[in-house]
Symmetry: C2
Subunit: 329 residues, 2 copies
């Protein structure tokens, strides 16, 4: 019908695609979820941290998103579920099993459900969709790929699978570089590719996640960063480095070990050199305001706001700032 | 050395091999474990109840033995661990997962350890040995086979995998027969075969377990019942039916549904007709003393004692009776 067609054509671009790793990214994703109309937020999540452990398929970043968006996350701890118990893990320890990865009892349910569904032939996207629905989450959560990609951290003392570096070794060894095993054969998330090809996307937000081990794997899935760049919607990157520190995680430590200045400016350079033409706006924290002029020499626009998200209000305020910036473009 | 050789030749037969299913069998196994010197008890356990659930390999009868022999069993409940919690299962239920099999949090540790070890290529015997050691159990616990055997219960309403019949349907459907999938290809436990071929076995005890779904699968592993029969040690069978009832489980209900009289005598006939020459002594409870003359027409000797095991003392008393009977032979 002409009427409907005309409405469809006039339909504003309302969808937001956020790229996220774990905790830092999930904070902004939650802010976006609480700001946008239900159904408009799509989060594309790093799965290069995924690993097999005790026969289970564990997707740490997806779970952080799921738990955060369903208000189940343990905010104090920064990982896992609120009100969690560790009876299974304690029993496993008494049996001499591996306990370095802190699997909670409730958390185990997620891994059991995912692992058995994958064993039955479902894809990671399908299982994630089921978990999203069953946790009552309104937003969409997409793994970057249904194919296995595994981050290997090269360190002074050898190569380590990511979770061994991150959890077991608590990021101790100095990093020398990163490798994403399987990435060349990985196919990008089909639903997100479809979203990017359609006209409904208002903006793309790169959340304040680790550039090296959270966002790089997503962008290096073949075809993905070009699809993001070629989409008409603006790409906004929120700096994960504030005042020379990472709010959470090893990003700052990694930059120092890689010989990169630990500054928001170096983050911007990382993206501009690796993914030219991708980022339109770079959001830095007001404590880094003095860097704005320096960063502005790069081919992107700089915006300054408060990017540190402690409260839900902070998260929503940053989300609103991001959305307004994209709209005003 | 002549001296040692002579000692070795004089070494008494001290080892006891017990055949067991779950709860009923584990009670007598515990009595035997507490009566015999450490290291002398070997328990050969039914694994036809094993199943894959939520991607885990679950061995209910082996676990009942492990938990009972390590004093961790929930005696009140008759299954699982004492002081157990169900946080993972509750979370799984909230996610829409299957919760009919009541997996406790501590119990999950056993299944995770076993499943991941099997996935790494270890055999069920090897994994069981590890669990025995780590639970501080002095006795030996052997799966009847490392190969998969799965009991199918034929009922009036169709065929059911054993745990679906036993746990999910709570033994509701009337049974018409049993099938042990995979049993023709199953190889018997090698260590137990070795034990039976060596001269050290004092007696073989068939614990008061379900004849149809606990002991039949063990005896029908190719080669096993012949090896038991051909071993010089006497075979003593403890009736699982007392005063027309099963102390635990569906044995009596199954007998009635199969059109078999629910008596200890019918149990004896079952063994004599299926496994001629296997059983030397049949132990019935004193409340069934009146059946002794009737059963004595069968080619086995009948002994009467108290076979109902409520306390640890009961278990040890029955164990002592069994061992004395075998010794006096």
């Amino acid at each position: 019908m002409a009427q409907s067609q005309s409405s469809a054509q006039r339909r504003p671009q309302t969808k937001v695609l956020a790229l996220s790793g774990g905790v830092g990214g999930a904070k902004l994703a939650l802010g976006l979820a609480r700001t946008l109309p239900a159904d408009d937020l799509h989060v594309l999540v790093n799965t290069a941290d995924d690993f097999q452990h005790l026969g289970l398929h564990i997707s740490p970043d997806i779970d952080t998103l799921l738990y955060t968006l369903s208000d189940q996350a343990n905010a104090m701890q920064g990982w896992g579920l609120a009100g969690e118990t560790f009876h299974a893990l304690d029993a496993l320890g008494r049996l001499g099993g591996d306990t370095w990865f802190r699997l909670g009892d409730k958390d185990l349910a997620t891994h059991l459900l995912r692992s058995s569904a994958l064993a039955q032939g479902l894809t990671l996207s399908e299982v994630t969709r089921t978990l999203v629905q069953r946790m009552g989450i309104q937003s969409h959560v997409h793994p970057m790929s249904d194919d296995a990609v595994r981050t290997i951290v090269h360190t002074g003392t050898g190569a380590l699978p990511f979770q061994h570096y991150f959890v077991r070794e608590q990021c101790g060894p100095a990093v020398a570089g990163f490798e994403f095993e399987g990435i060349k054969r990985a196919r990008p998330n089909a639903e997100v590719l479809g979203l990017l090809a359609a006209p409904g996307v208002a903006c793309i937000v790169i959340c304040p996640s680790n550039p090296y081990v959270s966002i790089d794997p997503i962008l290096q899935v073949p075809g993905l960063w070009h699809a993001l760049r070629d989409c008409a919607a603006p790409v906004l990157l929120v700096s994960p480095i504030v005042a020379g520190m990472a709010i959470k995680g090893p990003a700052a430590k990694m930059m120092a070990e890689l010989g990169v200045p630990v500054t928001a400016a170096a983050v911007a350079e990382h993206y501009c050199s690796r993914y030219p033409g991708l980022v339109d706006y770079f959001l830095i924290d007001e404590t880094d305001g003095k860097l704005a002029a320096d960063i502005a020499r790069l081919p992107l626009e700089v915006a300054v706001t408060s990017t540190v998200m402690k409260t839900l209000q902070d998260k929503q305020a940053l989300a609103q700032f991001v959305l307004k910036l994209a709209q005003e473009r």
